[in-house]
Symmetry: C2
Subunit: 114 residues, 2 copies
């Protein structure tokens, strides 16, 4: 699973972790419904999670579109806006679980969040 | 859901987000198996996630023990050790979804991660 965040939002450490956790929860539940065997394999292999970033909203939406077109499990988080950012702000796209090579085609050029 | 992290590990932003995401995935799957109605209610109400911290491993283990004793869904993440920290390092405890008042009894004194 790859979690694509937005570097332009400058979210705090805690906020970023919460947003990535939202994306993870939704992707896991979606996979449980639509790709249960893929989910099982993913969990059995250590449930790898990569957190990377893109520079802005347009780019994040493009990545989400590509994930959907590839038939990957994916989810775009819109924040409820309780803290730090306005309600409805798109913060993270979760992609996977799914075939690593397909996910890598979309995300391999993105920098890791340090 | 509350994600309790360890401030003494000084994890990077990306690493912390990945560890919290691990805890979230496991708590969601555990709730799906053992407390599906609680999970449904949680998701319907916005799937709130709080990221806070405690200062060391002993304290994190005590918190995990308290969550278990209270009958809450919970999960302790041991990192695979691919980056930043040695394999087997306990990084995060996820607690919930569950009754907010019960979770708060255990975690309300912990500082939020900023």
């Amino acid at each position: 699973m790859v979690l694509v965040t937005r570097s332009d939002l400058n979210l705090s450490k805690g906020k970023l972790a919460a947003q990535c956790s939202h994306a993870t929860a939704e992707c896991i539940l979606k996979a449980k419904r639509t790709a249960p065997k893929t989910l099982e394999r993913y969990l059995a292999k250590g449930a790898r999670k990569i957190v990377c970033s893109t520079s802005n909203l347009d780019s994040l939406k493009r990545i989400f579109g590509e994930a959907n077109e590839s038939g990957l499990v994916s989810y775009m988080v819109k924040d409820a806006g309780h803290t730090e950012i306005p309600a409805g702000t798109v913060t993270v796209v979760g992609i996977g679980p799914g075939p690593r090579s397909t996910i890598d085609t979309i995300t391999s050029s993105l920098p890791l969040v340090k």
